[in-house]
Amino acid sequence: MNRTRRRRARSLIGRILFWVAVAMILLFFLFPLHWMVVTSFKRTAEVTLLPPTLIPWVQFNPTLKNYVEVLTKMPAGLLSAGTYKQSGFPQALLNSILISGAATVIAVLLGTVAAYAFSRFRIPGKGDLLFFILSTRMLPPVVTLVPVFVMFISFGWRNTFHGITLLYVAAGLPFVVWMMKGFFDEIPREYEEAAMIDGYSRLEAVWKIVIPEAIPAMLATAVFVLIMAWNEFLFVQLLNPGKFTTVPPFLYAIIGYGRVEWGRMAATSVIFLAPIVLFTWLVRKHLLRGVTFGAVRR
């Protein structure tokens, strides 16, 4: 009796400590996000106040000024007060969505097909090929910056939609191939064999049986590829400085002349963050299933 009570008390303390730890970790990771969001609603003068104000309505009056500016027109700069220029942000955001989206879809589709072949068929030099595919991710991307730049110039791919998209497809493919091969290896090949016995061709069997099974894995993989393409800064900054630039270089460009426009940058970042958060949230169920795919009972 006494012992159970003591044990219960100990487990209560344990649980409290656990949640305190969780709260502290969350605070640590979410605080920058919070600061970014509140900054995006501040006027320029309030941004650099010390000590900083963190609670809207209580400590400062929120404003949508930054959002309006990045989405429509923004002041041209300190020196030319009173003049406004068209914000490039809507175009950059659209570019980001189209380029990352296209790259993700293409990389996941191509990679899935390749992964299925690697998983199911006897391919001469399979191990070497798989290693080669992986090895393209082994050197730091910046090393390939100059050759890729030269290649893009000679192909006339600078400042094009398809050039940068293809680059992101190439960067995403190894990841997709390896992830999806792992998933396919876990799907018993009896499924396709059963469908083939039942009178379907292999292609039909894959389409009707394997792909529906692989969709969670494909979505989980897509999240990673999307985030990679979405966040990429270096290559797009160098290869697409013009019309087809994406949000990360744009964000860098609006730091401001003469002073740093923190509020405007924060607002841009919040909008930039939203689509990814939304997509990840939409596929969250599949993410868990996709990542724990290996745990199925056979």
Partner: protein, 361 residues
């Protein structure tokens, strides 16, 4: 329904493993033939070759009056039941069963009618709307059978279909499956490593070892008259007792010089066929009778263990450093350590050539 003929089938895997070697086997129309053997004996590979899931290295496979060597699995008009059932997890039971019909473009009404009929036969009408994951293994097994039956194929290929069921359910399904096979008159090639299944279900049993067919025959023939040492040691629980012997005139002489007298005609037959001096005497546990004292029997041995099984008692007796299994009626009682005489039933003895492993008598 139709027969399956396997002619001179050999399958060598790319890594050089010979899985099946020169196999000849016929499954008659409406027959249930069991392929029995330990894991890695080539039984599943044989089945997969018949199903078209593996391509044989050489040899012909006939299903009905067609050579199916070059036909894909879908064109062979067979059904295959997998050990893990391979039910499609993302569609309902109804659609799982209807899946083979939809490949052939059968009308919706016809699909509905046939799924209902099959579901009724298998008593799974109440779970047609479920997804496979929610079913018990017994129900999954039935659904897999339903998917196999729906197309009314020429033959059924079964790859250890009962292995994943628990013991009680396995016994039930054994009877039911056999009943179903009788009822439908299907030709069935059935792979298992479980000899109880083989003995109870098979019209005939083919025993495979290391890719080679050891013996094919009706179950009791396999049990009573094993043709090879492998079959003698593999079939039966306990397996046949195998005792090293040599022929000395009209008797078998054990290593410790005990003698089992034989008829002159039997001894002559052994002498005519044997290739070396070394022989192996095979005798089933139930074909040995024990008597106290040890002077009356063919062989003298000492009781090592006693295991009462209820209906009978299983004794292990020590004969020249080898344990021999003997079953007796549970009313007979011998003490551990007691010296007993072993009386062998002459009509049921097997004598094997130790060097070739084949039966001489």
């Amino acid at each position: 329904m139709s027969e399956i003929r396997i002619q001179d089938l050999t399958k060598v895997f790319p890594n050089g493993t010979v899985a099946v070697r020169n196999l000849h086997l016929d499954v008659a129309d409406g027959e249930l033939l069991v392929l029995l053997g330990p894991s890695g004996c080539g039984k599943t590979t044989t089945l997969r070759c018949v199903g078209g899931l593996e391509t044989q290295t050489s040899g012909d496979i006939w299903i009905g009056d067609r050579v199916v060597n070059d036909l894909g699995p879908g064109e062979r008009d067979i059904a295959f039941v997998f050990q893990f059932y391979a039910l499609y997890p993302h569609i309902r039971v109804y659609d799982n069963i209807a899946f083979p019909l939809r490949a052939t473009g059968v009308s919706r009404d016809e699909v509905d009618r046939r799924v209902s009929a099959v579901a009724e036969t298998l008593r799974i009408s109440h779970i047609l709307r479920e997804r496979p994951k929610r079913l018990s293994s017994g129900e999954q097994q039935r659904v897999a059978l339903g998917r196999a039956m729906i197309r009314r194929p020429q033959a059924f290929l079964m790859d250890e279909p009962l292995t994943n069921l628990d013991a009680a359910l396995r016994a039930d399904m054994r009877i039911e499956l056999k009943h179903l096979q009788n009822e439908l008159g299907t030709t069935m090639l059935y792979v298992t490593h479980d000899q109880t299944e083989a003995m109870t279900m098979g019209n005939r049993v083919a025993v495979l070892n290391l890719g080679v067919l050891e013996q094919v025959g009706v179950p009791l023939e396999i049990y009573d008259r094993p043709n090879t040492l492998f079959v003698a040691g593999f079939v039966g629980s306990p397996p046949m007792n195998l005792i090293a012997m040599q022929l000395a005139q009209d008797a078998l002489k054990s290593e410790d010089a005990q003698q089992v007298m034989l008829d002159t005609s039997v001894a002559d037959r052994i002498r005519a066929k044997q290739t070396g001096r070394e022989l192996v005497l095979g005798v089933r546990a139930e074909d040995i009778r024990l008597t106290s004292g040890g002077n009356g029997g063919d062989l003298r041995a000492e009781i090592a263990t006693r295991e009462p099984l209820g209906d009978q008692t299983l004794y292990s007796v020590m004969l020249n450093h080898q344990l021999i299994q003997v079953t007796t009626a549970s009313t007979e009682r011998f003490e551990v350590g007691e010296t007993v005489g072993l009386h062998l039933d002459r009509s049921r003895l097997r004598v094997f050539d130790a060097s070739t492993g084949t039966a001489l008598v």
